[in-house]
Amino acid sequence: MIDCGPGRPRSGPQSNQKAGYKTMTEDTLAAKSGTNENTSQGDEKKPATFFLTMDKHVDLALAIVLILFGIFLCVMASTFYMGRVDDFFTAKGMPYATGTFLIICGIILTVLRLASWSEIPGHFVVSEAVKEDEEGYPASWKRAFAIIAASWIALWLWRSLGYVIVTPLFLIAVLWFMGERKWKKIILFSIIFGFASWYLFSQILNFMIPLGVLEPLARSLGFLL
């Protein structure tokens, strides 16, 4: 059972490596360089804020995955049928160009990452994330992955068990992973959402939502023609 307990408010540096949490206070150090002439254009001097939340191993792995993806594109492109049209690029042109570009970018990123490998000791380096986590609250990748896994399982069961059965169970699981422990709230929300969304999309908007094992019952009740 994955322990993805409730978030904790900020209370100073914490170390939670064993629990799988990466606390923002442990890995987040804000650099306040007040006289930051190099980063501001006008008269305002804005402090720079950086976070050590990017795992360099994962970053390196992603760069290697990009190289492999680029190779995949080029290999697949070599199997395409050229066709009879006298085309300058042919069906292979863009895949080759894109694949080659990805290989080059992947190599550059790999080299850059390896070159700066020892710059900061430990697993984490300065983050380049598009959006950062909220400071002061534990961030758990396990929680996110558990919810992704639950999404896959829910989809897999949609056709056989039906939307009305699977969706409340899925929502219960997600709310549990998010640390919700008030059972009345969890069950009420999940069941109401499941039924309300099915009714809205199926009965009012006339979309075909899979009901799975409940299909015969729905037919007998007149919900399905």
């Binding site: 980063t39 690029f89 550059i108």
Partner: protein, 515 residues
């Protein structure tokens, strides 16, 4: 042409005196804002109205569908600002800058800039729409493959502005999105490419893929943490700011309005591309480019003006050329076909009342309504932060899943969304901008198709291809924007790199002191 312009305004305004129609339009506006705010997207929001339109007179149906489309474009930025989740892909950049402003306690300013930018963009584009519809029909014979390729190239260049902290990763994300667009049938020879699965034979479905990259990925990223929104929004201010603060963004709003209308008028491009291009050009001439991505009101204003102006722009090819300007316009197209009208250059002559309905009740009246109720609705929607964050995020995920399923009644679409949600999660966490990947996915197919068909048209001669007057002009503009944008981005990145080095040095010094 002036007569048509004046007559359209007169007739459109006359239609607005119909109380039943106005009641319908008001209901459509409320539904559109709500639908945008709960992130179900314009396709679903307009799609659910379509069955009801079958029972309405054609002018009512056209007005209602246009009104809902316009209102969704307004409403989609509200969750982008308040909870960081864009209602549609065109609000992606608002979710970055607007949410950053919200976290800085400037919620009122962010919402006011969004309100000002969106409604100014809509009002300006309303009149551009009428100016452009008829002349555009003439361009059908002028804008061929090479010209269309040049327009797509102009769209792709806007990616330079959103490459984030690492230019190589930004370009990689762009190439990744482009690679995704290659799946399916080759646009010239028709051969199958990357058909690893049966469902890939028609290419990757764009809507589920973008929903995955932009919305599902953001939801999974937010699931990493558990807190209440009220805890972080310590200083919650929803006061309308002084006009001088809005005056600062007015040039960006006006430029965004023009860009939005023009880009939205290009078939295949739409609000997302218009928003990105407007954001890019706004950053290029802003006095504070370092604020972009970290809470820039100019960025929010440019983005909002363009994405809202593009709604009127999308109607230009729909009515003028008979080409749906976006996937939402397909519903409008369908509504007209169901009523026995064939959209195209002849429609304006054969059924001008539909043009009047698209302008007066479809664009102008909703804009006026949103000027009146838009700000009070924002204040009402502020209460969303008092709602349990967990329930909102979980509900949003559930709605996304069933919404995507409803697009084609195909569970593979939902699998796609979840898969690209995972991909987008890693991309966002490790500095690969999902916005760049999304825009190149959307533009990629047209980019390749028009390039290759254009070359065939020019007997495979590159010189003949680029020396066509319109093509040359647009490509030169693209090149200029690319060079200027790259130079500006590199300048900013160089400054950020210096500061990062200082930070690392300080961090290492702290670590050695602790030891």
């Amino acid at each position: 042409m002036i007569d048509l312009f004046v007559n359209s305004i007169q007739q459109g305004l006359l239609m607005c005196w119909d109380p039943i129609l106005m009641l319908l339009i008001f209901a459509g506006v409320l539904w559109g804002i709500f639908a945008g705010a709960i992130t179900i997207g314009p396709n679903l929001a307009v799609g659910v109205i379509l069955p009801f339109c079958l029972t309405l007179p054609p002018t009512y149906a056209v007005g209602l569908l246009c009104a809902v489309n316009v209102a969704v474009s307004y409403g989609n930025s509200i969750p982008a600002i308040l909870i960081g989740v864009p209602g549609t892909s065109s609000a992606m950049l608002t979710s970055i800058d607007g949410y950053a402003l919200h976290r800085q306690g400037k919620t009122g300013l962010a919402l006011a800039v969004q309100y000002y930018g969106a409604l100014t963009g809509q009002m300006v584009s309303n009149f551009y729409y009428l100016f452009m519809v008829v002349p555009l029909a003439q361009l059908t014979y002028v804008f061929l493959g090479p010209e269309m390729f040049a327009l797509y190239a102009l769209g792709i260049v806007s990616i330079v502005a959103i490459t984030g902290d690492n230019l190589v990763k930004g370009l990689t994300a762009c190439a990744f999105g482009f690679a995704l667009s290659l799946a399916g049938r080759d646009p010239v020879s028709g051969v199958l490419r990357f058909d690893l699965f049966y469902d890939l034979r028609g290419g990757l479905e764009i809507t589920p893929t973008i929903m995955g990259l932009l919305v599902a990925a953001e939801l999974y990223r937010q699931f990493r943490q558990n807190f209440k929104w009220a805890e972080i929004a310590t200083k919650f201010e929803a006061k309308f700011p002084a006009f001088k603060e809005l005056w600062r963004v007015t040039p960006h709003v006006l430029a965004g309005s023009v860009i939005g209308t023009l880009v939205g008028a290009i078939p295949g491009l739409g609000g997302t591309q218009a928003a990105f291009m407007s954001y890019n050009q706004s950053k290029l001439w802003s006095k504070h480019p370092e604020e972009y991505g970290h809470g820039s009101i100019e960025g929010v204003a440019a983005n909002e003006a363009a994405q809202n102006a593009s709604q009127a722009g999308e109607m230009v090819p729909t009515f003028g050329l008979g080409i749906p300007g976006s996937s939402t316009m397909v519903f409008l197209f369908a509504a007209m076909l169901m009523n026995g009208f064939i959209p195209g250059p002849m429609l304006i002559k054969q059924a001008p009342q539909l043009l009047y309905a698209s302008w007066g009740p479809g664009l102008f009246a909703p804009t006026i309504m949103m000027i009146v109720i838009g700000w009070p609705i924002c204040r009402v929607l502020l209460k969303v932060v008092t709602i349990d964050r967990t329930l909102v995020l979980v509900g949003a995920l559930g709605l996304c899943m069933i919404g995507v399923f409803s697009l084609n009644n195909n569970i593979v679409d939902v699998y796609l969304m979840i898969f690209f949600g995972m991909v987008g999660y890693f991309m966002a966490r490790y500095g690969y901008p999902v916005a760049a990947a999304s825009i190149s996915l959307v533009l990629g197919r047209g980019f390749e198709a028009y390039l290759r068909r254009g070359l065939l048209l020019c007997d495979n001669s590159l010189w003949k291809f680029v020396s066509r007057p319109y093509t040359a002009a647009i490509l030169l503009l693209s090149l200029g924007l690319l060079i200027y944008g790259t130079w500006g981005t590199l300048k900013l990145l160089k400054r950020a790199a210096i500061t990062r080095k200082q930070y690392i040095a300080e961090h290492l010094a702290d670590q050695s002191k602790k030891k």
